[in-house]
Amino acid sequence: MPRAISAVLRTTGATAFAITLLVFVLGPLLWLGAHAFAGSWTYPNLLPDSWTLRWWQTVFTDPALGSSVQNSLLITPIVVIVSATVCLPAAYAFARFEFPGRRLFLIGLFATNAFPRMGLFATLASLYYALGLMNTIAGVVIVQLLGTIVFMTWIPAAAFAAVPRSLEEAARDAGASRARVFLTVTLRLALPGILVGAVMAFLAAFDEAQGTYLVGAPDILTMPTEMYSLVLNYPKQVAAVFSILLAVPSVVLLLAVRKHVMGGQLAEGFQIK
């Protein structure tokens, strides 16, 4: 009998844990999502009094909001491309070459995460004034680039390192040129890791608000920086609509690479080797 009781207890425990987690993670999102379609909402009802689409209209017809969407969709891809150009060769080097300072470099890239972002942006201001980067697209790109470097270096580096050398050597023995081996074997096998790195970089850049605001405002406003003023100046429902729009690119991208993220590419990338 005690065995049956412990089985029941275990099932109850697991169910309670599952429900807590569900409410904890999804609850706030669903609650906010419902606001985007809510006319008015009386406390303590669990559902709005009426449903409406007029908040969506408000967002789509507001020119300031539209231009922030445009800015975000323009700047973020630039950041990802720049980040890939700067970081991918380095990722390959970290995986395949032994050179002095390798470990120091890896840890140095990580150390950027330890300095509080807001403090960093405050310190960046002097340099930005000196270089004339304030209020420019280039300035915003650089500020967003800083947060992408760890993802774009570490995750692809782990992916390159995981490509078996024996495969590359076999291809070389079969007469393939060095470039061909790199393109058809190494790059191909490391591609999932590179994609995960790129998506994480995209999210980091897309999400970046504080630095972008400090450097870009008031001329260059992206979606997250616009969100700051939205929350203060518009009804709750407008911010909810904007939130849904802001989450769309991330959700689409992450769904595309979900399998690889869950498959350990991300976790693998964060262990220094």
Partner: protein, 315 residues
């Protein structure tokens, strides 16, 4: 780092003679671009800031020193610790620091318990529910932090879901929005996916045979967790803890949106010292305090990685 550059700079002359050295040079050069970007846009500003915080107001610091208020200047080459004095004698700073540390510890603990629970559930029991949970826990990764903060604020607000639900049963629920509780919830929420990914992948890589052998020998679940799973997934666990803690300790968006005006986390108060009070020097002193704490946590991460590398015979 200067020494490294010096040694490699000397090599090009004879590099054709040594293939190994040539690949070392190639690797070094390939790895250089991101390091240069970081050195220029993080390293240089941080060093400038350190100089500025002790009163060296020349060079690139001229503008910020001219604009800022309450700036303490060094006397020639003798640094001035006036700004540090200002900050350390402010009562509010110590309250903010205490809150920052408390929030960091609490949210890291919650994240580890939740992520560990999911990891163990998936590893020991498996099944559909466990897989669904591990996917749901990744959802916050999809959501920009600004939205997450806003969603959590409305969820736990006076007219939010929690209070609405409890009101159905005639219970007056707590208002957590604009309190430290909301900061903890928000920080845990946004940090959960990374910890889940690290911890589940660490636990999944432990061979079944080990666990089954222990079971056959009569070990209970608790014993298996304590003697096999915990030690064998220690490194991913430490990585999860350190990244979560470092992310939370310097955070800005979550406490800015969800937390109280005062006391608040240092990330927020250093920002308001910079923008609202226009006291850049004092703001940077706070940044260095947070940096020191984060660096301490980061050292733990580096140590864990080296330990695992040594155990696997890589160094």
């Amino acid at each position: 780092m200067a020494a490294i550059i010096a040694t490699t700079a000397a090599t090009p002359a004879d590099r054709s003679a040594h293939p190994a050295r040539r690949s070392a040079v190639a690797g070094f050069l390939l790895a250089l671009p991101p390091v240069v970007v970081i050195a220029l846009f993080v390293g240089v500003p941080v060093i400038l800031a350190l100089a500025f915080s002790v009163g060296f107001t020349g060079g690139l610091n001229t503008v910020i020193a001219a604009v800022g208020q309450n700036v303490h200047r060094a006397d020639g080459i003798v640094p001035s610790f006036g700004a540090y004095g200002d900050v350390f004698t402010t009562e509010a700073f110590w309250q903010d620091l205490a809150l920052t540390l408390a929030v960091t510890v609490a949210s890291t603990a919650i994240v580890v318990v939740l992520a560990g629970g999911i990891g163990l559930f998936l590893r020991l029991q498996g099944g559909r529910l466990a897989r669904v949970l591990s996917v749901i826990a990744i959802v916050p990764l999809f959501i920009p932090v600004v939205i997450a903060s806003w969603a959590i604020l409305t969820f736990y607000a006076a007219d939010g879901f929690l209070r609405s639900l409890l009101a159905q049963f005639g219970i007056e629920g707590p208002v957590w929005s604009y309190t430290a509780v909301a900061i903890v919830i928000g920080s845990a929420w946004t940090s959960l996916p990374f910890a889940v990914l690290m911890i589940t992948s660490g636990l999944q890589s432990i061979p079944d045979a080990l666990i089954e052998a222990a079971r056959d020998a009569g070990a209970g679940t608790v014993r298996i967790v304590r003697t096999i799973l915990l030690p064998m997934s220690a490194v991913p666990l430490v990585i999860a803890v350190t990244f979560t803690a470092i992310g939370v300790i310097g955070s800005y968006t979550v406490p800015y949106f969800t937390g109280p005006n005062a006391p608040t986390m240092l990330g927020v108060s250093l920002a308001s010292y910079f923008t609202s009070y226009n006291q850049p020097q004092q703001s940077l002193v706070m940044a260095f305090v947070v940096f020191l704490a984060a660096a301490g946590i980061g050292a733990l991460y580096v140590w864990a990685n080296f330990r695992s590398a040594r155990r696997e015979g890589r160094i």
